[in-house]
């Protein structure tokens, strides 16, 4: 029962990762790539949460919190850079 849920969850997340990476490669402008990179980080956070859900290792939530902070700072830095180079 749980194996079916795990399979569906991880395959949906893998498809999300593939589509976002495709937009990161294709994206016509630089802000497109910034949006795709932000969503890529969110998908990785979702992978960490799904891994914690599957294995019962709730210490992974600490990892998730730190990764979320780093992702936010990186996105803000990238947006600041995009405003500087216009």
């Amino acid at each position: 029962m749980n194996a079916i849920f795990d399979f569906l969850t991880f395959s949906l997340l893998a498809w999300a990762l593939a589509l976002t990476a495709l937009r990161l490669i294709l994206g016509p402008s630089l802000p497109d790539r910034a949006v795709a990179l932000d969503l890529l980080g969110t998908v990785v956070l979702a992978f960490i949460a799904a891994n914690s859900l599957q294995s019962g290792e709730t210490l992974l939530l600490d990892v998730l919190l730190v990764s979320a902070i780093i992702l936010f700072l990186g996105t803000i830095a990238l947006a600041h850079y995009l405003e500087r180079i216009r």
Partner: protein, 122 residues
């Protein structure tokens, strides 16, 4: 006792699957939408909702006080920072004059920013 525990597990797993589905919808929106602003909208709304549902699923599945508190803290942090990041990126895109989709017919922000992008004329 035993059967109620299984019910909680089933509900938690279903919420987790729903969260993964919403993350997938966000990726689909980022892949398919025609311009930056729509892509930002899809990524930030559906992505935050999906990650929030996955965290809620972890908190339901393994109920203890530290897990619940950590999940709530991460949720509050996400709800505070995701709109800020999306706004920063789309503001940079607008100041870079990234083209809107050709069938967008109203642009209420056009010409409202000053030349240096620091002040907004209302």
């Amino acid at each position: 006792m035993n059967s109620s525990f299984e019910w909680i597990e089933l509900v938690g797993r279903t919420i987790g699957l729903l969260g993964a589905f919403f993350v997938f919808v966000a990726a689909l929106g980022v892949f398919r939408f025609p311009d930056v602003y729509m892509r930002t909208h899809a990524a930030t709304k559906a992505g935050t909702l999906g990650l929030g549902l996955l965290l809620l699923s972890v908190a339901i599945q393994y109920p203890s006080v530290p897990t619940f508190l950590k999940a709530i803290v991460i949720l509050i942090f996400l709800f505070l920072t995701a709109p800020v990041a999306a706004h920063a990126i789309s503001r940079a895109a607008f100041l870079q004059k990234v083209k809107l989709w050709e069938r967008t017919h109203t642009n209420e922000l056009e010409g409202k920013y000053s030349a240096d992008g620091k002040t907004l004329d209302s």
